[in-house]
Chain length 390, copies 2
């Protein structure tokens, strides 16, 4: 039994490679109830995040998790998705108050309650989120929602080196500035954007930032951030407040995947997804760039840099076995580096098939307990078999 939403997952989560039944969740697409005074919304799993935000806007509320794709909320919970806003709001798991889940034997359970906090019983919410359909099928979610911030400023800051950019990020976070988004885009990515989007971004490591707050606070935050950016030799910085200008400023970040797909016809995109403790991020990105060069590969590096999570975007000719092998070797190298620094093999894309082989190394003896939990919930392995565990 494999629950299927929009199929935007990246690690083969919904591929029934052993055969089986695919459950189409897309007709469970109702926003069941907006409990605006409780800052909670109840949704069915097939609701997408933009659909939810259209509904919430009427109440001055929004749901912050933004993985890029307009994924379903059921799928986002199943993989513990996150994205550009997790530096401020946390990941998908942090938003879940309660799940209705159908277990392997047909029992319907609720994993939490509608209370904003609870110390009652074991945290089945947290266990179910990120379990990728291997422990049960999510049939309803109660999620935390937030008041829309009064004001927003977008910024783009250009640096000579990745290290300076990341150092600036650490300093901004230490200063307690409540950043909404902090994204790093490397030189190679901006070259691609300029070539295929007709833009003229400076081709240097660049931070894309988003500040939110009230009007006065934002002004002070932005000024403080300017000082910090200058301290780390920022070559050039632009701020935009107007909605249209903000979108334009961030365009290269938002449309990067598109620039690669459009600029590399006939190839398929592959994206790595490691996460390291923040202070290892410059080293991780430098090591990745060196490895790409050594292997003679073309790849762009982007990072959710407030969290130490970074991706390499590779365009692969699926007919070329050498390219596939190289991509796999690079992925292997990046995962090994992350694990050696106390990080994780997957920051936000999940395990699926692609990262199953790293689970034992990452989790050590805890992996054994995870397997036992799987056997406990699903003794006949009928729920998304072959995912997470091999």
């Amino acid at each position: 039994m494999i629950p299927f939403g929009l199929g935007s997952s990246l690690e083969g989560h919904v591929i029934p490679y052993q055969g089986g039944i695919t459950l189409d969740m897309m007709r469970m697409n109702k926003v069941v109830e907006v409990l605006d005074r409780d800052f909670i919304v109840r949704v069915q799993p097939g609701v997408t995040r933009t659909q939810l935000n259209r509904e919430l806007k009427k109440y001055g509320l929004f749901f912050p998790v933004d993985p890029g794709a307009d994924a379903t909320l059921g799928g986002m919970a199943a993989t513990n998705a996150s994205g550009t806003t997790s530096v401020k709001y946390g990941v998908m798991r942090d938003q879940v108050y309660d799940l209705e889940v159908v277990l392997a034997d047909g029992t319907v359970i609720h994993t939490g309650s509608l209370a904003a906090k609870s110390s009652s019983g074991y945290h089945l919410n947290g266990l179910m989120v990120g379990s990728e359909g291997t422990l049960g099928v999510i049939t309803e979610l109660a999620l935390k929602v937030y008041g829309i911030p009064e004001a927003m400023v977008a910024a783009r800051a250009v640096f000579e080196t990745v290290r300076q950019a990341v150092d600036a990020v650490v300093a901004i976070r230490q200063a307690g500035i409540p950043m909404e988004r902090m994204e790093l885009v490397d030189k190679r990515s901006l070259q691609q954007a300029n070539r295929f989007m007709g833009t003229s971004y400076p081709e240097w490591p660049t931070l894309f930032l988003e500040f939110t707050g009230n009007e006065s606070g934002l002004k002070q935050d932005v000024n403080f951030a300017k000082d910090i950016l200058a301290e780390f030799q920022c070559k050039n910085v632009m701020f935009e407040k107007d909605e249209k200008a903000r979108h334009k400023l961030w365009d290269a970040r938002h449309k990067l995947a598109y620039a690669f797909v459009r600029g590399t016809p006939g190839k398929k995109m592959m994206v790595t997804d490691a996460c390291v403790p923040l202070h290892f991020l410059p080293e991780a990105i430098e090591d990745t760039r060196k490895t790409l060069d050594r292997m003679g590969m073309d790849g762009a590096i982007v990072g959710h840099v407030g969290d130490g999570n970074y991706h390499v975007i590779l365009m692969i000719d699926m007919g070329n076995e050498n390219e596939i092998r190289q991509a796999q070797a690079l992925n292997e190298h990046i995962v090994s580096f992350a694990l050696s620094k106390g990080g994780t093999c997957t920051g936000e894309h999940g395990v699926g098939i692609g990262k199953a082989k790293y689970q034992r190394e990452e989790h050590g003896p805890a992996y054994g307990m995870m397997k036992k939990i799987k056997d406990l919930f699903d003794p006949n392995h009928i729920l998304n078999p072959g995912k997470i565990f091999i």
Copy 2:
């Protein structure tokens, strides 16, 4: 085997009522490593929260969870403690990156990693936090820490009714004002404070608020909050910025327990701990007050009102069986009310012995899965037996 920290838990978690071995964790009291550039600290379980904050201050960082008592971090993780700051920073579970845990068979596992986010494997962090020593013994914690906010303003706002106070809280949250603390203290509590602390607080339902942010943002937030408070017929509001004045303003809230203990010699304090969806909170508090009156009991009501979590403080003569029975009946009534509204029997104190009897009702069929998880991790029931489950 019962891990024991400072013994500040309130639901009998550390009572070895079936006999057994108490593990004194208090000599595991080292701050192992402050990874300031990663916003992570590694601590042993016997470190207390004020000890940690003394150490973090050197780095301009702090650990936000504040349950009142100067509890150990191991104990706080075991019960998923929270307190006055969770409206801003979340609960203990939200701060845990990784735990080193010794399982029942002696296996040592790590439940997470040092990555700020991860979608790798099952979320054993979340499962272990709040498991109250029934699944394993926590021997080290990696916790999230934060930059100290630039500025802080404390406020006290007096209302005619609890309902007006809570409505103001909802409006402030909807406005997106990032409140650090939002506490409700009822009339009876302030009478007790005035009688035994020599103060002269207006004896009406009162919100104790804390705003943080940068200087300019704070000013705007405070002005906005003033307007909102006025809109909900706030009778009187005071703001204080200076540290000393802030502490004085909040004194009644901080020393409330003390006022009761000092004012009721020979009696023992008992505290209820339910949590309801926010919009049910006025009804919950009104119902509780009516029930206290009907039973002829003396009790004060305080609430972490941003979260819908509220406590009744009762002073009990432990030699008087009727008083004990009445307190139990009140607790039962409060829990039933919370569960009937989709809330929880314990917002932050945990299950221990006191709330074990409500687990089946609160969790329904999920309770069966929790019991199976307990049996899986601890087949011989040697870890804190008799707690959570009965």
